[in-house]
Subunit: 327 residues, 2 copies
């Protein structure tokens, strides 16, 4: 008896819901400070109290209010994203120098965007620091699959599944999605997909552009466990833009960098068995479950937790999120 699909979803969507137990939820929030920037009413993330205590907050950049449990990045009224980002970068540099946080030892040298209401770009922040602030991060996940005959029973399709390098910093040796990666500032979802597919899976740009189809997104509120590395209990709300990439049997996915050990072409049954054994990285399990639902493989009639799963993998996050539509 392996893990159920709902158990897999719950490993990823771990932050409590108000409606399940208002008293517990309200008490749980007391473990966090709200992260805000001056001039913007919205709460951008939740910072664990233990992180707030350890952080060397330069007083000229930050206001920490213990009474309202709020940490505010203080800027002038006409501050630009570049100014806010510089203040955060200086704060993080001090924390790195003092060795305050284990998670910052995994410094990625990639900048992740943070948005305000209406998708306004407010600032960018080193990727490895985003869980310290509990801000929303963005990525793309694609399922590359082969389908020999085009009947309506998609159980016959096969999915390209990579195994992560055993030396990778996070989730070493676990199974992953065909193509997956984080979106840096100023990157848009489809272009991120094209880049990652080429880098990680050696998928030629022309194949991705011709065969990829946008299919929505999954959203959930992850809370970091020891498997993720670094401090635990940090909040990590995530948005993953989803693509289906149907490829011909002649297309072979291959590791394009050292992050992937090897690609395997798995049947639906083999993929579901690996899911039940807990072999997939948690958020990859969620993306595959969404794929199986959209393709009629998981249905109301064969998945007992169908409705709970669909709602949880499309969680309405408590923070403002991005808008990538050209205006």
């Amino acid at each position: 008896m392996g893990k159920s699909n709902l158990e897999l979803v719950k490993e990823c969507d771990r932050f409590p819901y108000y409606q399940d137990d208002p008293a517990f939820y309200t008490a749980h929030l007391e473990n966090y400070h709200r992260f805000k920037v001056s001039g913007c009413d919205a709460v951008l993330g939740y910072i664990l109290n233990s992180v707030v205590e350890k952080f060397p907050w330069p007083a000229d950049f930050w206001a920490v209010d213990g009474a309202t449990r709020t940490v505010t990045l203080v800027t002038g009224a006409d501050a630009t994203p570049a100014q806010r980002s510089r203040q955060v970068a200086q704060t993080l540099a001090a924390a790195v120098e003092q060795g305050t946080f284990e998670i910052l030892r995994g410094w990625r040298d990639e900048l992740y965007p943070i948005y305000g209401p209406g998708g306004e770009f407010l600032l960018e922040m080193e990727r490895s620091a985003t869980p310290l602030f509990g801000v929303v991060s963005y990525g793309i996940h694609a399922t590359c699959y082969v389908e020999d005959n085009d009947d309506d029973d998609d159980r016959g399709l096969r999915i390209w599944v990579p195994r992560r390098s055993r030396t990778k910093q996070t989730y070493p040796g676990m199974l992953d999605n065909s193509v997956a990666g984080g979106m840096s500032s100023h990157e848009r979802p489809f272009e991120c997909l094209v880049r990652e597919a080429s880098e990680e899976a050696s998928l030629p740009e022309a194949v991705t552009r011709a065969n990829a189809r946008a299919a929505g997104c999954v959203t959930y509120c992850y809370v970091r466990s020891s498997k993720a590395g670094g401090e635990t209990d940090l909040l990590q709300p995530e948005v993953e833009y989803i693509y289906d990439v149907r490829v011909g049997a002649d297309v072979v996915l291959q590791p394009g960098d050292s992050e992937v050990e090897q690609f395997h072409l798995l049947s639906v049954d083999e993929t579901q068995a690996a899911l039940a054994r807990g072999e997939f990285k948690p958020n990859c399990a969620v993306v595959l479950i969404d794929f199986f639902i959209r393709h009629g493989i998981l249905t109301a009639e064969n998945e007992p937790d169908f409705l709970e799963i669909l709602a949880r993998i499309h969680r309405r996050l408590e923070f403002p999120t991005a808008s990538h539509a050209a205006n």
Copy 2:
């Protein structure tokens, strides 16, 4: 400038969210009583206070507690669904006799199921009464479409869109989904689809069984407006199981009963224009928006409210929901 997709979603998903404004949400809940059955902790629906005041609650069946704003169907510890359903039926019969509620003049003579935690079947209730109790109702919606060439740009597909009869009780003359209908007690989603497709669209059972593909569900929390008929502000949380039915150009959908005036085969552009003009019944708009997202027609790059839309049309309802998986 027509209605945006988010505006269409908001016409359907109208109940406030705690996270948007906790104080407003908490105050808003004071307009409702919780509906419970004895022996079950879960809240099954919200009953508008004005409905609680008008309802002729037989004291031997019901406990109305103004302090906790709770209406409880009182039964013995070993009550069966049949017993609970009988008590509710007698209560409704008295309300009909006294002409208490306008909405009950639309009596449907169909029984809708109400579930407890874990999908336990608790009771069934006349369809037209369910908004009085604010309980979750269930239905199926299918999008029947023709796609001449199987390229990845689905903009070339055409959708079968019916116009509702001008004499229909609810939403007369509005556009609808190819096949849509409510699920009665003991009915399961796929069989409901097959029945409705035959009754409403003259789609032969064999065509539906061969071509329909389950594709998830949409969930939202409707609050009844005057367009829905009867009392307004009643809560109507809904689950719609979603199917895509790709049919050949030789298949022609035709009204099978008096509920549909005529079917039209609309292009994506024509469908989107009709949506923006507000011509679709609200929950049908939501189903089409979900279809467009899953088919790569609405994407993060062309829909500014992509993330908010996806979360709201997969709302995690505040009440227990069904499980239709065979055990």
